[in-house]
């Protein structure tokens, strides 16, 4: 259940950004969660609803975009999107690929009342 620690870090980030922008409240938080980031989206969302209560995010809507894996193939040069947890290029079946998206957890956008 590391989702609680992750949400704590996220809310801290929102508070810092909110203060920097003289926000009265944060009304929407957009995050991007990679398929291979090791986070369970349902738990993350539940953790956010639990932890947001006292702070600047108290009334914030939490939107998650689940990011599939994006592979850059070094064999055929094409990029491909994977919804399975594999790094095999779907064009040429090579495993000489690089994951260019889908492994990270990112805060993407905040909407705030100023």
């Amino acid at each position: 259940m590391h989702e609680y620690s992750i949400v704590t870090a996220l809310i801290e980030q929102c508070e810092t950004l909110g203060a920097e922008n003289q926000a009265k409240a944060i009304t929407r938080v957009e995050v991007k969660i990679g398929m291979l980031s090791g986070v369970e989206p349902a738990l993350l969302s539940q953790a956010f609803e639990t932890f947001k209560l006292d702070g600047i995010c108290a009334n914030a809507q939490f939107n998650m975009q689940i990011q599939p894996l994006v592979l850059q193939c070094h064999q055929c040069g094409q990029t491909s999107e994977q919804t399975e947890r594999t790094i095999i290029c779907s064009h040429c079946q090579s495993n000489n690929t690089q994951i260019i998206d889908g492994e990270d957890m990112m805060l993407m956008q905040l909407e705030m009342d100023t």
Partner: protein, 249 residues
């Protein structure tokens, strides 16, 4: 209970209309694109700097509970001349650190309480209790857990993931994030192989789909010679880091 009309609905069914009405609020949208664990990652880099200042290559040992992390560290000392210390993470007790200290290994225990993983801040706190100067390498033995520790950079250089024969070869597919993060996978308790249906070939096939560059070794502390490839690998990583640091200097 709803804060606006006292109905029993808990979701914010009133708020949407409010949000879209520009008359009521001055909204500002800020595009940020920050890594959520950015603070941890900064601290992790700080830990790596600590290690590198002392020429130490650090390894994050991860696996499920009971796959043999502490046992490996207890036995490794007899197979290598490299000096190492261990930062131990467990929810409770200092048993693991005590076991290592009994073998003459410098170990410091972090008790995480209820946290299921170590993060860079916990490891940083522990680093100040470990004398780094005499060391060649350092191990961070993470909390036994194949899920949560995978998301946290603790400031080590390489990830070693252990998978014991009794756990079964299907764990790679079941816990892909952890095995994706591995630089080395150690199949431990290999002396038990004849008693279990663990297929090393199938484990390797799964890893090829997820993490083709990873190295795989079968080891057993009951067969000390099986640790030799691991000792060589650790020495190679250490030498590689030292060379890298020399080039930067």
């Amino acid at each position: 209970m709803c804060q606006d009309c006292g109905c029993s609905m808990t979701h914010d069914h009133h708020h949407d209309s409010l949000h879209t009405n520009p008359q009521l609020n001055d909204k500002k949208t800020l595009s940020v694109i920050h890594k959520i664990l950015d603070k941890n990652d900064v601290e992790a880099q700080h830990n790596r700097d600590h290690f590198e200042k002392n020429g130490i290559c650090a390894f994050n040992l991860m696996s499920s509970p009971g796959s043999g992390k502490t046992t490996l560290l207890e036995h490794l000392v007899d197979q290598t001349d490299m000096k190492y210390a261990v930062i131990e993470g467990d929810l409770e007790t200092s048993r693991d650190a005590d076991r290592l200290i009994a073998k003459g290994i410098n170990a410091y225990q972090i008790q995480t309480g209820s946290a299921c993983h170590l993060d860079a801040f916990m490891v940083h706190g522990a680093l100040h209790h470990v004398e780094l100067e005499p060391l060649d390498i350092c191990f961070v033995e993470n909390v036994g857990n194949l899920v949560c520790p995978a998301s946290y950079d603790v400031g080590t250089h390489k990830n070693i993931v252990l998978l014991s024969i009794p756990e079964g070869d299907d764990k790679i597919e079941k816990y892909p994030v952890m095995f994706r993060r591995a630089d080395l996978v150690l199949i431990t308790k290999s002396d038990l192989q004849q008693h279990f249906d663990f297929s090393v070939e199938s484990a390797k096939a799964q890893l090829a789909k997820l993490n083709p560059d990873v190295q795989v070794m079968s080891i057993s502390v009951k067969e000390p010679q099986s640790l030799q490839p691991l000792v060589d690998w650790l020495a190679t990583q250490q030498a590689g880091l030292k060379q890298q640091l020399a080039e930067q200097a």
